[in-house]
């Protein structure tokens, strides 16, 4: 009985791991650009399909394809920012958010146009899970967890330790003051867009490894990602990871008590509760924005 509970917890942690990367990307982008960038669902899908093109079509091995897809997703993010969001700098948050939704539709359909609607899988072997007593942890799941934890540590180091990280935090906090101090906010935005899109792309690859690849895959995740980012505290990239694990755990563990039909309701329920009780998120200080 306890082992079964533990299995749910493991499932929840893994789910959280899948959500951690896009939630971090989402929060990073929100922090710098000051609006919820829903095009993240398209970055997830595009990253997975880029990996598919490299891995299944061009037959590159896993790590080579992953690195290439990471870089390509990043450049895609920069390109999208320059084409769509740069002309709209300074517009209201709502305008930009709506523009990002429209952008996600366009990008999703470009993917559909090139690759079609069919389900695909990567050219990777499906392996049996590792057994710990009565519990199962898949090898892919461990990989996803390690990647999520590893990248979180790297992002944290980036934000706290490097000049870019400090610049990102400065621009996020007060763009005008930052530019007075001589920070090139456009350059910071470019680099953040690269990192955000690249992270989202890698998370898309993880989802594809775990499940299937199809044009809707990013869209299916975006609400849980949004919930995770809000839960952690939107704009706080470190807290986004904690938010992701909370959402993942809640969605999976809740299945012990509620029917599977209502799984999505848990994520939405959490958004509602958090926004009602502590809108700045569980881990953010109350800041006036």
């Amino acid at each position: 009985m306890f082992e079964q509970f533990l299995q749910f917890v493991i499932n929840g942690v893994v789910s959280g791991g899948i959500l951690a990367l896009p939630a971090t990307a989402f929060s990073l982008l929100y922090g710098i650009l000051n609006f919820p960038n829903f095009a993240i669902s398209a970055y997830i899908t595009a990253g997975a399909f880029l990996f598919y093109a490299l891995n299944a079509t061009l037959h590159l091995p896993f790590w080579a394809a992953l690195s290439c897809a990471f870089v390509l997703s990043g450049f895609m993010g920069v390109g999208v920012d320059r084409a769509v969001f740069k002309p709209m700098r300074g517009r209201r948050h709502l305008t930009l958010a709506i523009a990002s939704i429209g952008l996600s539709f366009i990008m999703e359909n470009i993917v559909r146009f090139i690759w079609g609607n069919e389900l695909r899988s990567f050219d990777l072997p499906v392996a049996r899970a590792l057994k710990f007593g009565a519990m199962r942890v898949g090898k892919e799941q461990l990989l996803i967890l390690l990647t999520a934890v590893g990248i979180t540590i790297i992002v944290q180091a980036l934000l706290r330790g490097t000049r870019l990280g400090k610049a990102m935090r400065a621009v996020a906090d007060n763009p005008m003051l930052a530019s007075v101090k001589g920070l090139d906010s456009e350059q910071v935005i470019r680099r953040t867009s690269f990192i955000g899109a690249a992270l989202a792309g890698v998370s898309g690859i993880m989802v594809g490894v775990d499940t299937i690849v199809e044009p809707l895959m990013g869209f299916k995740l975006v609400f849980s990602v949004f919930a995770a980012a809000i839960l952690g505290g939107i704009g706080n990239a470190a807290a986004a990871v904690s938010g992701a694990f909370c959402v993942g755990l809640a969605e999976e563990v809740s299945l012990i008590w509620i029917p599977a039909t209502y799984k999505s309701a848990v994520g939405f329920g959490m958004i509602v509760v958090v926004l009602l009780l502590k809108p700045s998120g569980l881990f953010n200080r109350q800041t006036a924005r």
């Binding site: 789910s15 559909r112 609607n117 499906v126 049996r128 895959m217 299945l255 799984k263």
Partner: protein
């Protein structure tokens, strides 16, 4: 003098009146005979039903080509409009609106998913458009549709019983039922449960899960904790693919049975032969020995002939014969005359060209289709269908048996 001057002052008015009068005089007559008969298809070209839609659309196109080449229906050509339902109710409703309001079709053929058919059904009966589909949900029979909604797929109640009997025959004692959220998830499950328990089996779990989720790990953890011998998985292709992979990773040793529209060659190609080995599936069978099926083989390539495109062949032939018999091409006309050409008594025919010869000679016909007898009850459901059993063996979906009505 004055009158003449007044008319002369507005010559355009006279011309206008004359034109309107001429239009009404001539419109009612010969123009009617040349007016094309407008029909529409709303097949799943993309989405979960994507493997089947293109074949369905192609079959209807080819049959219509043949009919038009042979003089159309009483001299009127059939004009076809095609739309993609995307196996998605929202998109399908938009497409159906376009077909009905813009293209003014009299009938819509080929909706596949039950959710799609349920979504467009009110549009059809409100606009007196005839609709015939390949959807299975019981709920479709219960619609207050004024008899405009027909289908050639056996309902989910019957399908549930057939699956349960297969499970009993295979010697499975404990089965867990898992289904994706659809209009028939509950009714199929209830029918399956009732029949399986009647035969002495035990249902260990009954789970209806959401579509479009990235993982089903916890749902499966819960189900496998009840230790079933086999899982009855009524999913669609995307979620069934994910679940099949998950079960393999978890190390599940039991059996799995599902519908052939989900557990098909596409799933096998996606998960690989090792993961898919031994998976069972069932689908309504076709009538390969019927004259209709043989005729269908002459029209399209074998790759396009499957459980749903055979039904499409029957749909277009039934509609064409109904229009020919009743000499009215509206949706209401088709509805009123369809059973006169589909149900016995009558001379059995397998296609439009055969049927029109007999109809013109004043004889009554009974269309026997490529998918089955195509005899409809008063709710627009078919009376019976044979079924086929399949299993994945060494990476290929293989037919292992058949259940005739």
């Amino acid at each position: 003098m004055k009158t003449k001057q007044r008319l002369f002052r507005k010559p355009w008015l006279g011309v206008a009146c004359f034109s309107v009068a001429a239009f009404f005089l001539f419109a009612a007559g010969p123009v009617q005979a040349q007016e094309p008969i407008v029909l529409g298809t709303l097949c799943p070209l993309t989405g979960a039903g994507g493997p089947y839609g293109p074949g369905m659309e192609k079959v209807v196109t080819k049959v219509v080509e043949e009919i038009n080449k042979n003089g159309g229906i009483h001299g009127r050509m059939i004009k076809l409009y095609h739309e993609d339902s995307q196996t998605n109710p929202e998109s399908a409703v938009r497409a159906a609106r376009k077909l009905i309001d813009v293209n003014k079709v009299n009938a819509i053929m080929g909706t596949w998913a039950s959710a799609v058919t349920m979504a467009i059904a009110p549009l059809c009966w409100e606009n007196k458009v005839f609709d015939i589909s390949v959807s299975g949900a019981d709920a479709i029979s219960e619609l207050k549709d004024d008899d405009y909604i027909f289908r050639t797929q056996p309902n989910s109640n019957l399908q549930g019983q057939v699956h349960a009997r297969f499970a009993l025959k295979s010697g499975w004692k404990k089965v867990a039922y898992m289904a994706v959220q659809t209009p028939f998830a509950q009714t199929f499950g209830d029918a399956f449960k009732a029949e399986f328990e009647k035969g002495g089996g035990k249902i260990t779990d009954f789970v209806i899960y959401e579509a479009n989720k990235a993982s089903y790990r916890s749902e499966l953890t819960k189900v496998l904790a009840t230790k079933p011998d086999a899982i009855e998985l009524m999913g669609y292709l995307p979620d069934s693919t994910v679940i099949a992979k998950e079960l393999y990773k978890i190390g599940y040793e039991g059996r799995l049975l599902g519908p052939n529209y989900a557990i098909n060659q596409k799933l096998v190609d996606n998960v690989g032969a090792e993961v898919a080995e031994g998976l069972y599936s069932i689908d309504p069978a076709t009538n390969p020995d019927s004259p209709a099926h043989k005729h269908l083989k002459q029209l399209v390539a074998d790759a396009d002939i499957h459980a749903y495109s055979t039904q499409s062949y029957d749909h277009i032939n039934l509609i064409a014969l109904a229009i020919a018999a009743g000499k009215v091409s509206s949706g209401t006309g088709i509805r009123n005359t369809l059973r006169t050409v589909s149900n016995p008594p009558g001379q059995e025919v397998g296609g439009y060209l055969e049927g029109i010869k007999l109809l013109s000679a004043g004889k009554k016909i009974n269309f026997q289709g490529a998918s089955g007898d195509c005899d409809f009850d008063d709710k627009g459901d078919i009376l019976s269908r044979p079924f086929s059993y399949y299993q994945v063996q060494k990476g290929k979906v293989v037919t292992i048996g058949r259940l005739d009505k």
